[in-house]
């Protein structure tokens, strides 16, 4: 016998994450994993993301978009259900060109969460998670859902 548990607000948000962000829905991104400050998302290869039509390699900006998106998802899965997430900064190292026609994946992990700031590391790759296309660090501001509810959102 199974018991049905009501999804928490965070679980519901994770389920809807791709659909509620118009640009992410437009690109057909998929959530592969999202729990406890760690998330993996997929960006399917598509011609309109190509930055160099001679090679078919996708534009660095599309990699940035995937990384920003997966970082945001990792933050909202962190403890205490952070909400109202905003990117403060993002640094991306491009280690090699993405391979044409291959789907791109990105993994993000919150390695430190303070009262208002989440610090993340993220990586983008195709088939092999050790063969990186890009490595990134990001900082995100957020309001804790519990704090927001209690009106404790001010510093």
């Amino acid at each position: 016998m199974t018991t049905t548990k009501r999804p928490t607000i965070a679980e519901e948000l994770i389920r809807q994450y791709v659909g509620i962000i118009p640009h992410v829905a437009e690109l057909g991104m998929e959530t592969m994993h999202a729990a406890r400050g760690m998330a993996i998302m997929k960006l399917p290869y598509q011609e309109r993301l190509v930055g160099n039509p001679e090679t078919g390699v996708i534009h660095g900006g599309a990699v940035t978009t995937l990384i920003d998106t997966v970082c945001g998802l990792a933050v909202i899965t962190a403890p205490d259900e952070p909400s109202r997430v905003a990117t403060l900064d993002l640094r991306i190292d491009y280690l090699r060109p993405a391979t044409p026609l291959r789907d791109l994946y990105a993994r993000a992990e919150v390695y430190k969460l303070t009262r208002h700031v989440a610090f993340l590391r993220a990586e983008a790759y195709e088939d092999d998670p050790r063969d990186l296309v890009a490595a990134a660090t990001g900082t995100f501001m957020f309001v804790r859902r519990n704090a927001a509810r209690k009106g404790l959102s001010k510093p």
């Binding site: 962000i21 118009p22 993301l49 190509v50 660095g60 940035t64 978009t65 991306i92």
Partner: protein, 156 residues
């Protein structure tokens, strides 16, 4: 007999000769998809990102997706480099750091970039984007690019 399609290098040359960077931008699928265009005044380009529903990241605010703003800044930096350099090779991004300063609303966005250091192999570029007020940037970026000196290019 089919014509040989122009190469990216050809597009760079054509754009420079015509004084219209859009001839190059039009060859980049991703720039077309986002709705990027640019105009040149003297040696300085002003890039424009058209407002559209498909680039929205937060529909509640609403705001343009941070990744799109970053892509716009990176593209502006590359375009300014192509406008500044003699090389016809497309600069390769090594690193980019993007600062998000204000919400980028669902409006037209503009960007400019300045080449802060031009070395023989690496160029450092700073870019910033704004909407209604140039004095209130929505985002800024600092990026390093790998460049090819003009004398090292085949058919340079």
């Amino acid at each position: 007999m089919s014509a040989v399609p122009p190469t990216l290098a050809d597009m760079v040359r054509t754009a420079r000769e015509a004084g219209d960077i859009n001839r190059f931008i039009g060859a980049i699928p991703y720039a077309r998809f986002l709705g990027i265009s640019a105009s040149a005044e003297g040696g300085v380009l002003t890039a424009r990102l058209a407002s559209s529903d498909k680039i929205i990241g937060n529909p509640a605010l609403p705001a343009i997706h941070g990744g799109v703003v970053g892509a716009f800044l990176e593209t502006t930096a590359i375009l300014q480099l192509l406008w500044t350099l003699d090389s016809i090779r497309i600069p390769k991004t090594i690193t980019i750091t993007i600062d998000y300063l204000r919400t980028a609303g669902p409006h037209e966005t503009f960007a400019r970039a300045e080449v802060t250091k031009l070395g023989s192999r690496v160029a450092n570029v700073r870019a910033y984007a704004w909407q209604a007020d140039v004095a209130k940037p929505v985002s800024g970026a600092n990026a390093n690019f790998l460049i090819t000196p003009a004398h090292e290019e085949p058919n340079g």
